[in-house]
């Protein structure tokens, strides 16, 4: 069970076991017979997962509790996996978490941690440093599933129509299932592990290739002549059945997604996003956004685009900002002024100050926009957004090679301090690096991470000459919509 968690260099099952044990102990404290109602959403590979998008708390309400918990979580990780010798960070929250960790370590000097360190580096990234990435539409398979249907604790609910089992000649198919089809998505499923991080445009070919392999495998039964051969075939049957089932599911999902991605509106939206991210016309009122407002498209979609434009222009011109605000308030209601205020406080929507647009500098230095993207066989992380390379992941990539010193200037433009801390290890635990051995870096996204960013990091881990493996921790798995939603002021 959950074998996919233990494959990597870092055995995540250790953490899982620790949490489980904790839960059992907790239950054990409740003496007597117990009536436990399990929410099936919580029974995924990690068991209990609670999520925060800290942006609202930290930046709007000035509440640092989630940072405190993040720091505590990191201390726990260190208790399990050993002290992490290097800590890097960028952003205000990252600085604070690092401070708390140092402080907790000081308070806890009594016992030396004697676990051999698994991680070489810790990178703390504040979501505030990279507001752009979550706003863009993710284009990996998993990312799109999340964008369109929303993945909740590794479960997704899908419209059932495409999943009706093909029945032949029974009842005329009157009883269509009305309940949403619920699927668990994680790397325990072989096929999903293969396609989850691919650009959606590359998923189709993999699926059809798989289909051919499976049907070929089933065809082999005709070749099975001897009893031994038949026996061998039968023994493989369960595995093949499972593969076929999973293929059928993902083909259906891919069809559902394709319906959306081929729609005109999706294409238009994507075009506008890509224009913004490559720096085209970010300083005037965008026609498509105006149209969306006029047609009363979902407010979240509109806000996402407006925020994207604002971020890609280091803030909108006052006139443009006022225009959008006015249109939004007039069309969706004046009460949304609170939401707009929240977005402004969080820095997602703002007026340009000083009349300087820093984004082009950042884009060029960090190579955030790549014109030639190979979606089928990617060579760069920009494939996850079909052109845009997520800033956060680029920072991680540059940290491992050649180091942040080369991009000091850009780091200064990005909000929040950047820093480096060292946690000295006792001599016995210091690692002697084998030649060719990869470093392991733990990246902690404070404030949430998108599936596309995870895909990009997995891609970096798999690069042969990458030299670094990444383990990702975060306070929340998010996408632009859930993010904006969290920032919206709900009417009371």
């Amino acid at each position: 069970m959950a074998a996919h968690l233990s494959y990597g260099r870092v055995n995540l099952n250790v953490l899982r076991e620790a949490v489980r044990r904790e839960l059992r102990e907790f239950l054990d404290k409740c003496a007597g017979s117990k009536a436990i109602v399990w929410d099936e959403y919580l029974t995924g590979p990690f068991g209990l997962i609670a999520q925060y998008s800290l942006l609202k708390e930290c930046y709007l309400e000035g509440d640092q509790t989630s940072l405190y918990h993040a720091a505590k979580g990191l201390m726990t990780l260190q208790a399990l996996y050993g002290t992490i010798p290097h800590i890097f960070g960028k952003g205000e929250c990252a600085r604070q978490v690092a401070n708390m960790m140092v402080r907790m370590k000081r308070e806890f000097t009594g016992s030396q941690n004697s676990v051999f360190p698994v991680f070489d580096n810790l990178l703390l990234l504040d979501r505030n440093v990279d507001l752009l990435t979550p706003l863009a539409t993710q284009l990996t398979y998993e990312g799109l599933i999340d964008e369109i249907y929303g993945i909740q604790n590794s479960y997704v609910k899908l419209p059932p129509e495409k999943f009706t089992p093909k029945k032949q000649g029974s009842g005329g198919g009157k009883d269509l299932p009305t309940e949403a089809k619920k699927l668990q998505l994680n790397s325990a499923e072989e096929l999903y592990a293969e396609i989850r991080d691919k650009n959606f445009n590359a998923v189709g070919s993999v699926l059809s290739k798989k289909a051919k392999i499976i049907s070929a495998a089933f065809e082999e039964r005709h070749n099975a002549k001897t009893v031994g051969e038949i026996k061998q075939f039968v023994s493989q049957l369960p595995h093949m059945q499972a593969a076929r089932g999973s293929l059928a599911n993902h083909t259906s999902i891919a069809e559902l997604i394709k319906d959306v991605t081929t729609s005109e509106d999706f294409f238009d939206k994507l075009t506008v996003e890509q224009e913004f991210m490559s720096g085209v016309d970010t300083d005037k009122v965008n026609n498509y956004i105006e149209d969306c407002i006029a047609q009363k498209h979902p407010l979240i979609k509109v806000l996402r685009l407006v925020c994207l434009q604002s971020v890609c222009n280091s803030g909108l011109k006052q006139k443009v900002l006022d225009f959008y605000k006015r249109e939004i308030l007039q069309t969706y209601g004046y009460e949304h002024i609170l939401t707009l205020n929240n977005l402004e406080k969080a820095g997602l929507l703002k007026a340009q100050t000083g009349g300087r647009n820093n984004y082009p500098t950042i884009r060029k230095t960090l190579r955030l926009w790549m014109d030639d993207v190979n979606e089928q066989n990617p060579t760069d992380i920009s494939y996850v957004y079909s052109g845009y390379a997520p800033l956060s992941v680029r920072l991680a990539q540059l940290l491992s090679r050649p180091g942040w010193r080369s991009i000091e200037e850009v780091l200064r433009i990005l909000p929040g301090p950047h820093f480096e801390e060292r946690q000295p290890l006792p001599t016995g635990l210091q690692k002697k690096r084998q030649p060719g051995e990869n470093r392991v870096t733990l990246i902690f996204f404070l404030g949430g991470v998108t599936f596309a960013e995870i895909a990009a990091l997995r891609f970096l881990s798999q690069l042969e000459d990458g030299g670094t493996e990444y383990v990702i921790a975060t306070t929340k798995l998010m996408n632009g919509s859930s993010w904006i939603e969290a920032l919206m002021e709900e009417p009371r």
Partner: protein, 603 residues
């Protein structure tokens, strides 16, 4: 009682106990559910509400939801903050008490939870009685237990609830003072002698790994002080942070309280900060509290958030007045309660225009709503009879209101409140927005004349008549004329393809659609639209104008056999004008087209 017994209250007691260690030590806390509830429940719960809620847990059936382990977590966190409020506890005693059903009612009916608050007005005697009775009933409950143990759990100021947990903590804490061990034994005996139901078995006995003790990160000496009352502010805060019970009432002087607050703030744990703030809010006068918080911004933000969560608008208003930050509040108040509060609040310059608009809009809506409701019920007005209103217009966005006005009050003169033009002027609605909304409303009513008028620039009556005549005269080629007409006289601020879309959505007749499709300037868009909407004439004429024979041939298969359109296509295909043109094309090297072109020509 059913649920309560099922849950086996001693267990529940453990789970509810404020110092529930698992909560405090679930590794990797951002991932763990209990904390999230902790966060939620902590600040939200108002002290009194907490106490009431807790009382209910103790005496009566537990709500079903509480059976969920995660909710147990939530409950315990609530009590954590509640406990801070009310000091050590009768409430926890009561949980145990509830096992003795006989005593229960009496206990609950008579108990006072204010035993340890300072602002209590009851005389101390009755409190003492109360506590004595509580202790006595406890004696019944653990009747064969040592007296020593009883003393430990009675009113030394030490909450009973922490006992079971300090066992765990001390157990995990190897090599501490021997005296601590002795205490541990005693306490263990207290706890283990509780009758356990047969179905209980210890899960954790399977999993008692020694590394687990290490995981219990922050646990060290402070738990030895469980029985002393003299924690320094920093110790108190540290205990609070671990979710343990401790009384804040000991901190009497302002200096102490402020030190406590500062310690809490330096921990960054919002639950602790909020807990201390609740205590301060209760025990300090407003003026002093505000004054002190003004120089402590972190704590101030927490208090503001807390007040927002519990909806204490009055205190919030006082606070903002004190801080001179009224505009911030004003915005939020407006949308919480639309009332007389509204106008006399100061707003930031940026927001005030929007707020003023909002106010004006609401005023309008109230007038319109009253008026129209009257009209509708009178049943005299045709439009309301034909299209009864679906919902009240109150609190709708401006654009929706405009749509409403265009739907029901389109022809009204500019002077009335409900006239669309008046709305447009009052709120400075941009042309685009106005045209779109009006178009949608009129198209929905199928008032095509109004639609026409929207896009027709004002021309003299005579010109209009002339144009109409021309149009009628040119019946053979009406499209050419209307095209010419459109280019000169029809303008839309939104692009005609959008107009066509809206018209199509409202199922406008083909003739009308065609007129507007023809007004689309970009030829490709026009062709696409016309093909999509089956405006055959437009497609055919456009192809003819483009001299695109191939497309025309392809389109021939799409129209009905033997229809007027087919004839028309055939006529064009065989007409000499097109043929020569295509021959010319063929000479350019389009051999295939030449084939096509010679085909129909032969007929």
């Amino acid at each position: 009682m059913l649920e309560a017994t099922e849950l086996q209250l001693p267990g529940c007691f453990a789970a509810l106990s404020p110092s529930s260690a698992p909560l405090a030590t679930v590794p990797f806390s951002p991932f763990s559910m209990p904390h999230s509830l902790f966060r939620r429940a902590g600040p939200v719960a108002e002290p009194d509400a907490v106490l009431r809620g807790r009382a209910r847990c103790g005496r009566g059936p537990l709500p079903d939801s509480l059976l969920h382990p995660l909710f147990l977590g939530a409950v315990s966190s609530v009590t954590a903050s509640g406990e801070i409020q009310k000091g050590p506890g009768p409430a926890f005693l009561s949980l145990q008490m509830s096992r003795i059903k006989g005593d229960e009612e009496e206990y609950w009916n008579s108990s006072k939870f204010k035993a340890f608050t300072f602002d209590d007005e009851d005389d101390e005697l009755s409190q003492l009685k109360e506590s004595k009775r509580a202790v006595n009933s406890l004696r019944d409950f653990v009747d064969d237990d040592d007296d020593d143990d009883l003393e430990r759990v009675s009113w030394t100021g030490e909450p009973v609830g922490s006992i079971s947990w300090s066992i765990k903590e001390t157990a995990g804490n190897s090599g501490s003072a021997p005296e601590g061990r002795d205490q541990l034994k005693g306490r263990n005996s207290f706890y283990t002698q509780l009758p356990k139901p047969p179905s209980t078995y210890s899960l954790s006995s399977f999993f008692k790994g020694k590394e687990w003790a290490e995981l219990d990160l922050g646990v060290s000496s402070p738990c030895l002080m469980d029985y002393s009352n003299d924690w320094s502010p920093s110790d108190t805060v540290r205990r609070l942070r671990r979710g343990k019970v401790c009384s804040l009432e000991r901190f009497r002087s302002l200096q102490d309280k402020l030190q406590l607050l500062e310690e809490a703030v330096s921990m960054h744990d919002g639950n602790v900060i909020t807990a201390v703030l609740i205590f301060l809010k209760r025990t300090l006068s407003k003026e002093i509290l505000f004054r002190e918080l003004e120089v402590r911004q972190v704590a101030l933000r927490h208090l503001i958030h807390f007040l927002k969560e519990i909806g204490d608008q009055k205190l919030l208003l006082d606070l903002f007045r004190f801080l001179d930050r009224t505009e911030e509040l004003a915005v939020s108040v407006v949308f919480v309660s639309v009332g007389s509060l509204f106008t006399n609040l100061p707003f930031s310059a940026e927001d005030s225009a929007h707020i003023q608009d909002h106010y004006t809009l609401l005023e309008r809506q109230i007038i319109i709503e009253a008026n129209d409701r009257h009209l509708e019920s009178a049943g005299q007005t045709e439009i309301f009879r034909k299209h009864p209103r679906k919902a009240s217009i109150l609190n709708m966005p401006l654009v929706t209101t405009l749509f409403y006005a265009c739907f029901y009050h389109y022809t009204e003169s500019e002077g009335t409140f409900s006239s669309p033009i008046n709305l447009k002027k009052t709120f400075k609605i941009p042309d685009k927005q106005y045209v779109l909304t009006a178009l949608a409303a009129r198209a929905k009513l199928r008032a095509w004349n109004d639609v026409d008028a929207l896009f027709t620039t004002k021309v003299g009556v005579l010109t209009l008549v002339l144009l109409r005549l021309l149009e009628r005269e040119g019946l053979r080629r009406p499209l050419k004329f209307s095209n010419w007409l459109g280019h000169t006289k029809k303008r839309a601020p939104i692009g005609f393809h959008r107009v066509v879309e809206i018209l199509h959505k409202n199922s406008a007749p083909v003739q009308i659609l065609q007129d507007y499709v023809n007004l689309v300037e970009d030829v490709d868009t026009k062709l696409n639209l016309a093909t999509k909407l089956k405006c055959h004439d437009v497609v055919i004429d456009t192809c003819r104008d483009l001299k695109d024979r191939q497309q025309l041939l392809a389109y021939r298969s799409k129209v009905d056999k033997g229809s007027v359109e087919e004839e028309k296509i055939d006529a064009i295909l065989s007409s000499s004008e097109v043929r020569t043109e295509l021959k010319w094309l063929a000479l350019q090297g389009h051999g295939k087209e030449y084939q096509y072109c010679s085909g129909p020509a032969g007929h």
